[in-house]
Amino acid sequence: MGSTLILVIMVATAVAFDFTNGFHDTANAVATSIATGALKPMVAVIMSGCLNFLGAFISISVAATIATGVVDPSVTSTAGGLEIVLAALTGAIIWNLTTWCLSIPSSSSHAIIGGLVGAAVAAVGSHAVSFHGIMEKVVAPAVLAVLICGAVAAIGTFAAYVMVRRLGDRQARTGYRYGQIGSAALVSLAHGTNDAQKTMGIIALALISTGHISAAHFYVPLWVKFVCAGAISLGTVTGGWRIINTMGNRITSIESPQGFAAEAASGSVILASSYYGYPLSTTQVVSGGVTGAGIGKKQPVHWAVFGQMVSAWILTIPGAGIVAAGAWEIADIFGQNSKVGCIVIVAITIVIAAVLWTIAQRSAIGAKDLDRTNVTPEQEAARAAGGDVASPAVA
């Protein structure tokens, strides 16, 4: 009975993490479309939410990596396995909310991986962690994906502006805005195949630890897919406007041809990586794409903002890991497999989440602040040439 209650708490916490993953990360799929006025903010996030839901059912290769490739499944199968997973989730949620509060696009994927590593090390020691798996499946692909996506987006942007010169400004910008709707849809779908699965992997890890699933014959139950797809979609529709603002407006000034090139590069990198089972961060890939789009047009990139993001990326795994390790230590005070310990760390997480939410509301950014659909292609061209067009929220 005790472990069933802990399993229920753990699944509920995993769903909460998936929700934060939705509003923290998923909206990045549509940030450039919103920034160029290709889509109204609410239309963009609703479309993205629906496609995330669909994408969650396409593949489970990333879920398998999370469930079996980071921490030795035999460790999470022990009596304290559920507390380890729960502590990992609280670490990831707190890290996600902290970076969201600071408007920094960081990786939810790395937050959950960092959480798993931190909690596992605190519980049983470093031998439980597959550092080789983390380097091979997480760190190396993350670094390479940003570089690859940036280079591809830069080439795509350069090519797009060659076409703009042949097409004429108005027709090109209008055409690329339509293209952005398609590319945003593709990135959203790709995001669903990647991010929704991370929580599926976490819940599967818990089900392995309670013996509901065998690690040797890994699969994700249908109800887990539905719950995870629903939670990430709901989070997406809620809209992480602070991160959308940073991604779409603060890294560089994005026009529709650049937005299309950045999204096409991001979508293809995420889809290809999902195919090979690499749990990439959509945030990092899209950030690389947006930066590459700026470089491809030889326009200023705000390297200070990019530097802040890179710092957050570097700190994510250790940061979430430390929080998760702390959470496990608190739970452990009440004994192994203790319901009270689990309830206490969930309660602490709720309080911290409420505090961060309250702080964020002091400088709230909403959908209306980011709506640029009233900006015509001519105004976009004027803005690109240094003209005066009302800027959206960039605080």
Binding site: I58, S59, I155, G156, A159
Partner: protein, 86 residues
């Protein structure tokens, strides 16, 4: 690159990702640009200009071929994910 004697980067997988990204990311942008160019020749969204029938036919043909390529690449990407063994 090695970590504790084992390779940590599967370069063949990375190379395939790079190729897929170049096709899906850069080439699609170019093909989509030609799609827009085809529509321009066909007179779509450009009512002020006069276009000959030949120009319109050529424009529509280019746009159609490019649209098929764009949709095909997207479909291929999604198909590859669906076919991926778990």
């Amino acid at each position: 690159m090695l970590l504790f004697g084992d390779p940590i980067i599967d370069w063949s997988a990375i190379l395939k990702i790079v190729i897929a990204a170049l096709i899906g990311g850069s080439a699609i942008v170019i093909v989509y640009g030609f799609l827009l160019l085809g529509l321009k020749y066909a007179g779509v969204g450009d009512p002020g200009q006069t276009h000959t029938e030949r120009s319109k036919m050529t424009g529509y043909a280019i746009a159609t071929i490019c649209a098929i390529v764009v949709i095909g690449v997207i479909a291929l990407g999604i198909y590859a994910i669906i076919q991926k063994p778990s």
